[in-house]
């Protein structure tokens, strides 16, 4: 596409589709505002850009100039960022159209998008179920065919888990591959902007555009943007590791069947398959729920009502302002994690929790290096232990909710790239399988994903 009239048509069509998908509550941008913004952008977009005219929705924890950035929180209701995220600026420079902001768990804390202050998003296949989270709005919009791709963000699986639930592709790049500038911080050492797409190619080409160095983010690697690999004919030469800890005895048999089917396909495609062990995997969720809340407790300290965002009652003195603003502005899950994080960083507990967790994190990363050092190119695992669960099912039990990220948090802790692609259906609901790759070798990972995507019976019951 490089014709302005086509871009305009694309913009209007996306706006129309969004209106029809309104019931999903996946977008936080009112249809009228979105239509206007899309048309304005289509008129301004550079026809030479590689994503010219492509509508891309953006998770609401990524700063945009066109739309408010609320992180799904009351504490930022109506907040407009005076600057835009580097990833968003790169998308626009490539001619993409920012197709509104997507619903998410508040400050990306959650696995169901039920923890949004603006109501839960619905699973596009079954409105009684959740689309996953925290990038549930992005996943639902892509799955419903509203946009070909959307930006999400990951701290512990928040792109791959909803991608698995909604039957779309989700990529979490290597930590440092994409600038975090303008991504509202949750767990800074884990956070990374990711992409949800209809296909590996849609997700990959968006990732390629947003990747690369950024002087504004000290944790972003000084590297050229990711170059997309060619679609391979086979998986000849690939050694795929199957980490046994991701296939416990009590794994859902349907999930196991779906994965076994994929493993057979690997062999048919010419790949070598090898069982490996990542022995520290059982500690990953506990480690994650120390590191991420610790960083969050500090990252979210700035929301105090003093400078921006709404103030709640009782601003007589500054302490009261903090108490009411933070007490009423944050939802229960965010408050729970701030408390948890404050606790693990407190003097007297730091060594027992935060320092220990950092040590365990290093061991988890070492597990992966060991596997790769032994000749494994990529690891394959289920993305989630189950397909999409019912809304409300895990709300009363935070630990059950946390465990839905059991297969995804490891890649975040180790900073590795990972991709979830649909590998089958369980009682009509999609399920994803993931590749975990080596740091900054997204191209290899994408090559394998391309190969698998071509042959996997993604819409067939496992």
């Amino acid at each position: 596409m490089n014709d302005p009239s086509e871009a305009l048509a694309s913009a209007k069509a996306a706006a129309d589709r969004l209106v029809r998908a309104k019931r999903l509550n996946a977008s936080l941008t009112p249809a009228k505002d979105l239509r206007k913004a899309l048309v304005t952008q289509a008129q301004a977009a550079h026809p030479s850009g590689v994503l010219y005219g492509m509508p891309v929705a953006v998770k609401d924890n990524i700063c945009t100039l066109e739309f408010p950035t609320t992180c799904g929180s009351k504490i930022l209701e109506g907040y407009r960022s005076p600057y835009e995220a580097t990833a968003v600026a790169k998308l626009k420079a490539a001619g993409a159209l920012i197709a509104g902001k997507t619903n998410c768990d508040e400050f990306a804390m959650g696995s169901s998008t039920e923890h949004s202050a603006f109501g839960r998003s619905l699973h596009p296949f079954d409105k009684t179920r959740v689309p996953g989270g925290s990038s549930g709005g992005s996943a639902a919009l892509v799955a419903a065919g509203v946009v070909p791709a959307a930006l999400g963000s990951e701290t512990g699986g928040s792109v791959r888990q909803p991608a698995s639930f909604c039957g779309v592709v989700g990529i979490k790049p290597t930590y440092g591959r994409v600038s975090r500038y303008g991504l509202v911080a949750f767990g800074s050492s884990l956070d990374q902007i990711g992409v949800l797409g209809r296909s590996v190619h849609d997700a990959a080409r968006v990732l390629s555009v947003i990747s690369g160095r950024d002087a504004k983010d000290s944790t972003c690697e000084d590297r050229d943007p990711l170059r997309l690999p060619n679609v391979p004919e086979s998986m000849q030469g690939f050694v795929i590791g199957i980490p046994k800890e991701y296939f416990p005895a009590d794994l859902d048999p349907a999930v196991r069947r779906a994965c076994d089917r994929v493993i057979r396909l690997f062999k048919e495609l010419g790949a070598a398959v090898r069982e490996v062990s990542l022995p520290h995997t059982p500690y990953a969720v506990a480690t994650y729920y120390i590191v991420a809340p610790a960083e969050a407790s500090s990252n979210l300290a700035r929301y105090d009502g003093a400078r921006y965002g709404p103030r709640f009652n009782g601003s007589e003195d500054v302490r009261a302002l903090y108490r009411t603003t933070r007490g009423e502005g944050f939802g229960a899950e965010v408050r729970r994690r701030i408390l948890l994080g404050t606790y693990v960083l407190s003097s007297g507990y730091y060594d027992a929790y935060y320092r220990k967790a950092q040590q365990m994190r290093a061991l988890i990363a070492q597990d992966f290096r060991n596997a790769f050092d032994r000749g494994v190119d990529l690891l394959f695992t289920p993305t989630t232990p189950t397909p999409a669960f019912k809304a409300g099912e895990k709300l009363a039990d935070p630990v059950a909710m946390y465990l839905s990220d059991i297969f995804t948090v490891t890649a975040n802790l180790a900073g590795l790239p990972a991709i979830s692609i649909p590998i089958g259906r369980i009682k009509g609901l999609p399920l994803g399988g993931q590749f975990i790759g080596q740091a900054f070798l997204e191209d290899e990972m994408l090559e394998a994903a391309y190969a698998l995507e071509r042959v996997v019976p993604a819409t067939e019951e496992a």
Binding site: C71, P82, A301, R302
Partner: protein, 483 residues
């Protein structure tokens, strides 16, 4: 504790934490200006405002200066140090944390020698030196019943310099600070202007019985806004602690604010909860890894430090230690002095020192616009005095004239008619005139009152309007009076 015995039986133990603003154009973690005095909240951006999603990037220039300061204070600079978050809530701290250093600071284990008023040359250990960002400013008097926040200072680069408990009196604390300031000004690391807040001091104070080795309970004194107040605040706090202990009480570990108007300390309003800053490594900033070459490069950028320069001046220019100390107190003055010596003759070094310490510094103090007479001009002026062309008195007039209006000293002296007359005939006429006008004094001289010679010389200078060469005048007078 009983006893008593007054202040003399107590020993004061002081350690200082000094925050120094680094002389950079931009802030520690963003590109905003550090200029002082801008309208409130104009030198700000998403990063220093702590807006959602913004990220810090360390300022390399600030790191250079911090490393230079550390080297100047004899510290070990660590090739790997860690930036950490210090978490606390305050309205002028937009992120809810300050980026500082905790477990792994930039530099440790330095020392600074200074001249103690009581102990002579003494040594202070520098326990650590770390980099951090400044917070904003809360203005409580701008609007009635409201607090205004100015975030211009937010993110300004600072170093914190922490001494060991090595200072033994409020006077020593002040002397150490003056020496520290001198080093930081010399190395061009900071302007050390306390009024602008670019140098701030917190003090830890305790007292113990003379002879005891264990430290007493300390208090922290804050809000000390000048060097003079350092001495006053610490004296007040020391006396308070001694009085408490002598009265049988105990010192409570607490933070005190100094009230300069009342010359008293009072406890800081207790912040909610305890001070648990929950330090942890800042995940937005990789560890500071400094290459060996980078550190070496900063070492080469260090100028000669004041103590070294003082010793060199005393030896090379045969000056007293006191004179050398005056001349090296400020780098600009020291550089000026050396320029004068180099432009003239090293033989005149002592004379040049006198000129700089008297006329030059007096002129600078009076006019406040620096060292106005170029070093070359002063060297020439000194040459004219040494060569007998100008009297010292006349040279002072020339100096003022050059300072005020510029010009070459010889030309100025000629224009003012101040060139000394060394012509025996001309001086002889002035002598005759003077002797003729004072017959009584001539009579007394001849009767043995030879101290009147100076009176005659003075009269000759007066008659010649300062132009007569006083030595020649004396010689001619002696001859004529003897005749």
């Amino acid at each position: 504790m009983g006893g008593g015995g007054g202040a003399a039986s107590w020993e004061t133990v002081i350690g200082l934490e000094t925050h120094v603003q680094l002389r950079t154009v931009s802030k520690m973690f963003c590109g905003c200006s550090t200029a002082f005095g801008a309208p409130p909240n104009t030198n700000v951006c998403p990063v220093c405002l702590g807006l959602p999603g913004a990220l810090p990037v360390a300022n390399e220039r600030a790191l250079q200066l911090a490393v230079r300061a550390a080297l100047g204070l004899g510290c070990t600079v660590h090739q790997r140090s860690v930036l950490a978050r210090k978490n606390y809530f305050y309205p002028d701290l937009p992120k809810g944390y300050q980026i500082s250093q905790f477990e792994q600071p930039l530099a440790t284990d330095g020392s600074l020698s200074f001249l103690s008023p009581e102990r002579g040359v003494a040594m202070v250990t520098i326990q650590r030196l770390h980099v951090e960002e400044d917070a904003g400013k809360s203005l409580h008097d701008r609007f009635p019943k409201q607090t205004a926040i100015d975030l211009n200072r937010c993110g300004v680069p600072l170093i914190e310099i922490v001494t060991g408990p090595d200072l033994r009196s409020p006077q020593e604390a002040r002397a150490y600070l003056q020496t520290l300031k001198q080093v930081l000004e010399y190395t061009d690391i900071s302007d050390c202007d306390m009024e602008k807040g670019s140098l701030r001091v917190d003090a830890n104070v305790s007292v113990r019985r003379v002879g005891q080795t264990a430290l007493g309970t300390k208090t922290e004194v804050k809000n000390i806004n000048s060097f003079a107040y350092v001495e006053k605040a610490l004296t007040v706090e020391r006396d308070r602690q001694i009085a408490l202990l002598e009265g049988g009480g105990t010192v409570e570990q607490q933070t005190l604010l100094y009230d300069a108007k009342a010359n008293a300390v009072r406890p800081q309003r207790a912040k909610e909860g305890s001070h648990d800053y929950r330090y942890f490594p800042d995940p937005d900033l990789p560890p500071l890894v400094l290459k060996e070459e980078f550190i070496a490069e900063q070492q080469t950028q260090l100028p000669e430090l004041p103590a070294k320069k003082r010793e060199r001046f005393a030896e090379k220019y045969a000056l007293s230690v006191t004179d050398a100390a005056v001349l090296t107190a400020e780098r600009a003055v020291a550089d000026y002095y050396e320029a004068v010596v180099h432009a003239g003759s090293e033989a005149d070094a002592k004379m040049a020192a006198n000129w700089v310490m008297t006329e030059v510094l007096a002129d600078a103090k009076e006019h406040g616009d620096g060292l106005r007479v170029p070093p070359g001009a002063l060297a020439n002026l000194i040459g004219l005095v040494r060569g007998g062309t100008l009297s010292h008195q006349a040279a002072k007039r020339v100096f003022s004239e050059v300072a005020e209006h510029g010009g070459e000293p010889r030309n100025v002296a000629e224009a003012l008619g101040l060139i000394q007359v060394a012509d025996t005939g001309v001086v002889g006429r002035w002598v005759s005139e003077v002797l003729g006008a004072h017959p009584t004094e001539v009579e007394r001289y001849r009767k043995g009152e030879i101290k009147l010679l100076q009176f005659f010389v003075g009269q000759v200078m007066k008659v010649s309007r300062g132009k007569a060469d006083p030595k020649l005048a004396q010689k001619v007078l002696e001859e004529k009076l003897a005749a």
